[in-house]
Amino acid sequence: NAGVIQTPRHKVTGKGQEATLWCEPISGHSAVFWYRQTIVQGLEFLTYFRNQAPIDDSGMPKERFSAQMPNQSHSTLKIQSTQPQDSAVYLCASSRQGTGQLYFGEGSKLTVL
């Protein structure tokens, strides 16, 4: 099993540009989660999908952030008009239904200049 795959591992954007981060969950896992990790805020929950449907997006900033899961093999997190405060490591995780155990990817480090 390849584990959760996140691309790109590193992305540098200029202020105001768009950034799209990709996540491929473990095959057979029904839930996909997105987290943001910073030194100051720690690990923040953003959103999650179950069977491709959005279930809980309570952590998503209401403006500029959006997430989709168009099929069971990948999810995207899009940040429009990026700002320096969006700089963080964005972690994707997947889990099997009902286990509560998350398997994390290695993260995508976003730097906004």
């Binding site: 690990l43 809980d56 995780a93």
Partner: protein, 114 residues
């Protein structure tokens, strides 16, 4: 509000010494509880989990944790640490029967000195 607290931001222990990392949770009911470890520049890896039953759960690499309902705690322990245990440790919880999202503590950075 649901929360997980790790009161110790940094812990330093000598190689071979015992270890306890503290975790307190605030949830209505009994949550699922987890400890994850993050080595430098890597993602999070599961050390152990508690769902129900025996309050002491065993994990990988000699780690164990003890659930206490009366104290709302889930402390992580290891009898003898190795230099390779140096990492950041996160305690996390999710609500049983509710949203599957994990709420994480602030993390504890463990340094094992030789």
């Amino acid at each position: 509000a649901q929360s997980v607290t790790q009161p110790d931001a940094r812990v330093t222990v000598s190689e071979g010494a015992s270890l306890q990392l503290r975790c307190k949770y605030s949830y209505s009911g009994t949550p699922y509880l987890f400890w994850y470890v993050q080595y430098q520049r890597q993602g999070l890896q599961l050390l152990l989990k508690y769902y129900s039953g025996d309050p002491v759960v065993q994990g990988v690499n000699g780690f164990e944790a003890e659930f206490s309902k009366s104290d709302s705690s889930f402390h992580l322990r290891k009898a003898s640490v190795h230099w390779s245990d140096s990492a950041v440790y996160f305690c996390a919880a999710s609500r049983q029967g509710g949203s599957a999202k994990l709420i994480f503590g602030e993390g504890t950075k463990l340094t094992v000195s030789s």
